[in-house]
Point group: C2
Chain length 462, copies 2
């Protein structure tokens, strides 16, 4: 009997969760032949999150066909797992009654997350599919700022008066018929509904009936302000090992609960955004973007890079007479700039990460800057010697070796300094350092690299 | 009475968790004056995770003084929150009895995490501080491969025979005196201790006594193989919204449990490593590294960059006669290379991320490659026109504008292709694409950029 009910997903021993050809083949075949039964069969063992991933990897046409063919099998959870950029298309392709059915299966916080990314008519269609009660809850959540705790929280929660004991609480829980599907704590509240602590269900289970709840509350109790930025929420969960946390309004009254699985999703998104910003790709870039979106997202950063590299060219142009005389300078100059750019990127990445994890503060910033300068100096001297020797051997001009060596040291020290000071300054100015630091730092290392190398050459070689 | 027991950490409304001068000032003053009471007072409101962050930001001398002065106030949790690179120093600075006391407060999985990063004599000291029972458990965990589920799991778990009903299970839990501090599920096992499903405590609380456990099991039940890589474990938790998951040995028998807070910590670490690898910084780099460690970590990547930029210089050297004749080529050539490098980094970052999140697979790789090539072409044509005009105006040589324009298109298309194909190829060869892609891609865009631009110039301008 048990085996009928439990479908345990068996993981390969090496533990690789990648969707493979074994799934793709049958799905693609079902789509091509328009065989709804075969499609449903192929998808049956998959988790909604995996089905969403699979849909993301289909071409646009295949995806539309997928939605049509899957029909009423379409689970609401697939929608909320789907890449935000595809939801619009998929919702549009769904039959209204299938959409309504799918949406009604979702928790209200998932509906909020879904609606945020839809256009007005589609958002309206989703809202219409809800019961009146759920609709009110969803609309209330949508009244909080985007990317705030209020959008992330669920309303379903379990609270108890702080003066209760274990027995009263267990009896209360046992008598409820509509407990939330997932909850891990009982939140203690005072008479004005302000949370004052919480108790894990495990602790509750393991304590004597007469024990007052206040005697078994968790030490690390924290409330989340409803308007707090979701990134800070994720930070708090990760930093303080929270499993769930009560959300409070401006009067400190309990309005909802955020659980760690949502916080983990946000942490993942924030990281993703940081990586993409550091690379000068729009923070919402994704593989599912179409050509035109991708081109548009990447264009601005390339345009910034064009301006900064023209700036570097203007520096070079000042020395065209020197270059005309010593073509070796043109051959060697990209090395100095490139080494500086690389060293600068190293420093800046460490600094941007440290700012994001709040490890770089006023308490240690000067020590970090000093460290970066010294590291730049040490590596600079080593590579100066190497390049000096290469320069001498390659072009048999000892002075050229000296020039490239000095320029290398100068540029690596500047790279180390700029790599920390630029992101720190941007952060102080409330500009996201992940977003803008790269362009500034490479501009500095290009300009300084070319100027130091060609300037020294002009003085020492002519 | 309640207020005495609950110390709720109040968050600022804007929700910024950064440690600020308000904490640093008193701590530094206490360290400077050697005032143990003042130090304890300043640290009293802080969570161990925040105390660990604060210690990371102190200088080495201050940190040693901190350990000495804080003395027996030192909580074991601070040790497990501390940056891995500092643990060694801190453990060394601790009095043996303080260390023993601190370690005994920890859960066994935290002790495992702590010992992993210590040298043998210190690891031995920590092991010696444990009870015999805990020591056996810790040593067993250490027998699993590093960074495997076995190292991550905790042994404390709650299991019940799969044929029990709700009433039996609740009675069992209520009768236990040593339930784990944190648990969220009751794991169902068959007679051979193989997990067959699990039930949340919330579901258990809300169900009638006669309900069989098998009727209220969670749909998304998954077991984790004990040797699975911790990165895959984190992926599974995030992908399938697991809160806790049973860990099984090679015979599918239950050996432990992993909870989501540990998985979230691993997800955070994996992201950190990816960002640092992409920037060519050793994946374990941190602000707390000393100058010599930092220099050593960054050196190899700069050395690789030196070799690849010398390669680019060799390409330039082939055209020294052309450059001598048209110095404008030396002025403009870094622009073509820099734009290619930038576009390549954009493509490669998106590709590396998509590989990490398993969104780039055999199912869509060709469509992605085609998209990158088209995006490169479109952006290339736009920037070709811009640079063509700039080139003509700046140097009044129309043909120079044509040359730089064509070179730009070529290099941006190549950048798009290399940005996807190189990480995909490395992944297939089981080389971490985050680690090595950057150097390969910029080598390609530098070489192609210089070669296309100078080669075309040689043909069209001479």
């Amino acid at each position: 009997m048990l085996d009928d009910q439990v479908t345990e997903d068996v993981l390969p021993e090496e533990g690789d969760y990648e969707l493979d050809r074994d799934v793709f083949g049958p799905v693609k075949a079902a789509l091509d032949s328009g065989n709804a039964g075969a499609l449903a069969l192929a998808l049956e063992p998959l988790h909604p999150a995996d089905i969403a991933d699979l849909m993301e990897q289909l071409s646009d046409d295949d995806r539309t066909e997928f939605v049509r063919l899957y029909g009423s099998g379409f689970d609401g959870e697939i929608l909320s797992e789907l890449d935000e950029r595809l939801r619009e298309d998929v919702v549009e392709a769904m039959e209204p009654e299938v959409l309504a059915e799918a949406v009604r299966e979702l928790e209200t916080d998932d509906v909020v997350d879904l609606i945020e990314d839809l256009d007005d008519p589609q958002a309206e269609a989703v809202l219409d599919a809800l019961d009146d009660d759920d609709r009110v809850v969803v609309e209330q959540s949508l009244s909080y700022p985007e990317e705030s705790a209020g959008r992330l929280m669920q309303r379903e929660l379990v609270a108890a008066p702080q003066h209760w004991n274990v027995g009263q609480t267990i009896d209360f829980l046992r008598s409820q018929t509509d407990l939330p599907e997932q909850f891990y704590h009982v939140i203690l509240v005072d008479p004005r509904m302000r949370p004052t602590g919480y108790v894990t269900l495990g602790r509750l289970m393991g304590s004597l009936r007469a024990t007052p709840l206040t005697a078994i509350i968790e030490e690390s109790f924290r409330t989340i302000p409803v308007r707090q930025d979701e990134g800070e929420v994720a930070y708090a969960f990760n930093q303080y090992h929270l499993i769930s946390a009560p959300v409070v309004d401006d009067d400190d009254r309990l309005v909802g609960v955020i659980t760690i699985d949502d916080a983990m999703g946000i942490l993942d998104e924030e990281h993703e955004e940081d990586i993409l910003r550091l690379a000068g790709v729009g923070e919402e870039s994704s593989l599912t973007d179409k050509v035109i979106e991708t081109t548009k997202r990447r264009f601005p950063w390339l345009a910034v890079n064009l301006v900064t590299s023209i700036l570097a060219s203007l520096v070079i142009a000042q020395f065209d007479a020197v270059i005309a005389q010593f073509v070796a300078l043109a051959v060697l100059m990209p090395i100095v700039a490139s080494m500086g750019g690389n060293a600068g990127t190293q420093s800046l990445t460490v600094a941007v990460r440290a700012l994001a994890t709040k490890d770089l503060t006023t308490g240690n910033v000067w020590r970090v800057i000093r460290r970066e300068a010294i590291v730049g100096l040490v590596n600079g001297v080593i590579f100066a010697v190497v390049m000096g020797v290469v320069g001498v051997i390659w072009f048999s001009t000892p002075m050229l070796g000296v020039v490239i060596g000095i320029a290398m040291v100068v540029n690596l020290v500047v790279a180390g300094l700029a790599g920390v000071m630029i992101p720190v300054t941007l952060e102080r100015m409330d500009i996201d350092p992940a977003l803008a630091s790269g362009a500034f730092v490479t501009t500095v290392t290009d300009v300084v690299g070319f100027f130091a190398f060609l300037g020294l050459a002009a003085v020492m070689l002519l």
